[in-house]
């Protein structure tokens, strides 16, 4: 065990060593004679959050690369003289222009990454942030608001403010600030809702980087609230089948006519909860009854779908409980486990088919699932019968063995008495 721990320790040490070596190599591109850094360090006037491993520093783009000026001179006046291109600390539109100077130029950017996107500024101009900035609102987010100014890392780097696990926190900085957001008249509780949602829990608690963060629905450089027509497509990028069924259903047309927000109407937006079977139907927690009343055909459809789902869930649960028992007692669970898996697959399909709002289509799937659940229960019963048979066989064997052993015991006693 200790050896194992030692091995793991050694591997970690090796990784840390290699990472340190790699970082060292990255840093080696940073010019140590850069007078901007030398002076600002001496004066303890380095910008807040300055990181030497910042991606621009790694690639040899130092202070002067963005701020302009002459980084070879140690005389401030010479370094910032007119004609040196010194722009100081850019604000608002100047930031976009400054970043765009390189990032919109594929001829320049391809030397770092041949397939890098260079449409960020273009997208930004169409975003809510960009539009506001164009109108002179300097409070809106610019490049540095999300990417930071002096500690920029690629999005795949966990240190980055735009790494998937860090994005909610990055957006939250402004969007949860009531005072800051006051004039925009939009809610500021999105983050609080998101962290409690199924997506937020998956991303922030379970660290599942596949779960959506703010930018997955709203976009990043072109960030906008999703409109009525696009919300279904946004959810559909991950929930493909649900979206496909919904878009072909009669409800999709009715939703569009009534200006209703597709998925959001039943599932919500920032606070999307894990779905359950009682969301459909006519019970208290059903979303169907929010729009449909008793007597309507949709109300009956909802009830039928719910009944079908619950019927399959009950059968599936019984089969699953029996399967666990079969596994516990060490009986053959192979055929049964396949049947239970098939029943589960049908249940998942039926749940997805709820988005067709067609009770007959759901029923086809639940009937198939019920067949598999029945088959699983039958396999389980066979195994339990076999278990009883084994135990009965053991009883019979013990009975005869006991007779033989008792007879043997008396034989020995008898023999020893004679002696």
């Amino acid at each position: 065990m200790k050896r194992l721990i030692m091995s793991i320790f050694c591997i970690h040490l090796a990784i840390i060593f290699m990472a340190a070596t790699a970082l060292g190599q990255e840093k080696s591109r940073f010019d140590k004679n850069d007078q901007c850094v030398i002076c600002h360090k001496d004066l303890e006037a380095m910008p807040e959050n300055f990181e030497e491993s910042d991606i621009h520093m790694q690639k040899g783009l130092s202070c002067a690369g963005c701020h302009g000026g002459d980084s070879t001179s140690d005389d401030e006046e010479v370094a910032k003289r007119k004609g040196s291109g010194f722009i100081g600390v850019p604000k608002g539109k100047a930031i976009i222009e400054m970043c765009g100077k390189c990032h919109s130029d594929i001829a320049f950017m391809r030397q770092y990454q041949p397939r890098i996107a260079t449409d960020q500024v273009q997208q930004y101009a169409k975003s809510f942030h960009g539009q506001k900035l164009a109108k002179g609102d300097t409070k809106v987010a610019t490049c540095a608001s999300c990417h930071m100014a002096h500690s920029i890392f690629p999005a795949i780097d966990p240190r980055s403010t735009i790494y998937s696990l860090n994005i909610p926190e990055t957006c939250h900085k402004c969007h949860s600030d009531e005072e800051y957001m006051k004039e925009y008249n939009i809610p500021t509780n999105q983050y609080d809702k998101y962290v409690k949602s199924v997506h937020g829990i998956a991303l922030l608690e379970k660290q599942d980087t596949g779960a959506p963060a703010c930018n997955d629905c709203h976009g990043n450089h072109g960030a906008m609230p999703p409109g009525i027509s696009s919300i279904g497509h946004i959810c559909g990028t991950c929930h493909v089948n649900n979206q496909a069924y919904f878009s072909k259903s009669k409800m999709a047309i009715e939703f569009e006519e009534a200006d209703l927000h597709a998925c959001e109407e039943c599932h919500g937006n920032h606070e999307i909860q894990k779905t359950h079977d009682d969301m459909v139907g006519t019970g208290e927690t059903s979303t169907c009854v929010e729009c449909h009343d008793e007597g309507e055909s949709a109300y009956e459809t909802a009830e039928k779908i719910h009944t079908e789902l619950i019927g399959l869930v009950t059968a599936f649960n019984s089969a699953n409980v029996l399967l666990k028992k079969i596994e516990r007692v060490g009986m053959d669970d192979l055929d049964m486990s396949y049947a239970v898996k098939d029943a589960k697959q049908r249940l998942l399909s039926a749940r997805t088919l709820v988005h067709t709002f067609d009770a007959d289509r759901v029923k086809v799937k639940t009937d198939e699932g019920l067949e598999f659940a029945k088959k699983a229960l039958a396999f389980g019963k066979e195994e339990l019968d076999e278990l009883d048979f084994r135990r009965f066989g053991f009883g019979i064997a013990t009975f005869f063995m006991t007779i033989v052993l008792v007879a043997l015991y008396f034989k020995i006693k008898d023999m020893e008495r004679d002696e």
């Binding site: 050896r3 194992l4 030692m6 053991f394 063995m401």
Partner: protein, 356 residues
């Protein structure tokens, strides 16, 4: 018919003296006679192992892609496969248990003393072989726990100074636990070990038969008329058979009511699961090694532990050769306490390993 066969054999092989010898063989009857039966129980369990093992061989297929699947097939599809597999696993554990009991009873009753030193030594080899049997058999189902336990176990072997690394590579058939390890363990388990074990068992039994049953000191001192003796044939053998019957029934009970688990198939790329542990009979050593600090005295803690158990085992198994140097008046007491300390150590470490 039986007599005719015996006569036929006697005419050709002169087996009558053997019968003569057997008919005169006697077993002492006293308060510790019960311990005489433990070796027989261990032996019958070995026979069960051999028989069920041969049946399992009909379907078992060693290999990364077939070992687990074939055992699953045996336990689910083959008629009575579940029974033979469970009996094989339970019987292996019971055999090791009775080998332990037999060894400690022999130690406490000091049956190893002159002239039975070699009987003790062959017994010691059988004990070690039983442990290796268990270790090699544990990997054969190629499940998660066995895979990682083998990894840890062979790592420990690799920590032995100088010869450790070559031993580890020899056991694993490479640098890590792979299909090559499985093939090796399979070969050890079904060919090499049974062959050596059978020879050792034959020698052990030969010595016991040749020298007769050991008489404890207090029994030896009794006057001849007060010494109760029991004929080996048929009395002792029939009692043996009676006990074997009870043990076999217990074995059946365990196999039917507590079938041996197969677990999850091993995945070399998966992270090690929690609760990796060796078979219970290795637990005291495993736990002791876990408790040792990284450095102990002038060496690594693990190396110290391995040396401790190595030297400890050597001292234990060479007891017939050094106990004579202990002053005769205190010898029984010293050895009794030595044995008790060893048992307490094994019990505490084993319990600790399972409870913590």
């Amino acid at each position: 018919m039986f007599k005719k066969t015996i006569d036929w054999l006697d005419e050709r092989f002169n087996i009558q003296p053997l019968f003569e010898f057997m008919s005169h063989k006697e077993v002492p009857v006293h308060k510790h006679s019960l311990w005489y039966y433990m070796g027989g129980v261990a032996m019958i369990l070995f026979v069960v192992q051999a028989m069920t093992g041969m049946l399992l061989l009909l379907y078992y297929q060693p290999g990364v892609d077939s070992a687990y699947e074939s055992i699953r097939f045996i336990t689910t599809k083959v008629s009575f496969g579940w029974l033979f597999r469970s009996v094989h696993s339970w019987s292996a554990n019971l055999m090791v248990f009775f080998v332990f009991v037999h060894m400690f009873s022999a130690f406490f009753t000091r049956t190893y003393a002159k002239p039975r030193e070699l009987t003790w030594v062959t017994g010691a080899v059988l004990f070690l072989l039983a442990m290796v049997f268990g270790f090699s058999g544990y990997l054969l189902p190629w499940n998660e726990l066995a895979f990682f336990a083998t990894k840890v176990g062979t790592d420990i072997a690799g920590a032995v100074p100088i010869i450790g690394e070559p031993i580890k590579v020899l056991l694993r058939g490479g640098d890590s636990v792979t299909g090559a390890t499985l093939s090796r363990f399979y070969a050890f388990h079904i060919a090499l070990l049974p062959a050596i074990f059978t020879v050792m068992l034959f020698l052990h039994l030969l010595f016991v038969q040749r020298q007769g049953m050991h008489e404890p000191e207090f029994f030896k001192e009794l006057p001849t008329e007060k010494k109760r003796m029991m004929p080996f044939f048929p009395n002792f053998i029939l009692r043996d058979v009676l006990l074997w019957g009870v043990i076999l029934n217990i074995l059946l009970y365990l196999a039917v009511f507590f079938p041996w688990e197969l677990g999850v198939k091993a995945d070399a790329f998966a992270p090690a699961p929690e609760g990796i542990r060796p078979e219970w009979y290795f637990m005291f050593m495993f736990q002791s090694l876990k408790l040792l600090p990284a450095h102990f005295l002038i060496m690594e803690g693990e190396v110290f532990g391995i040396l401790f158990f190595g030297i400890g085992g050597l001292v234990w198994f060479s007891v017939p050769f050094w106990d004579v140097y202990i002053k005769e008046s205190i010898r029984p007491k010293v050895l009794k306490w030595f044995g008790i300390i060893v048992i307490i150590f094994i019990l505490i470490m084993t319990a600790w390993g399972y409870l913590v």
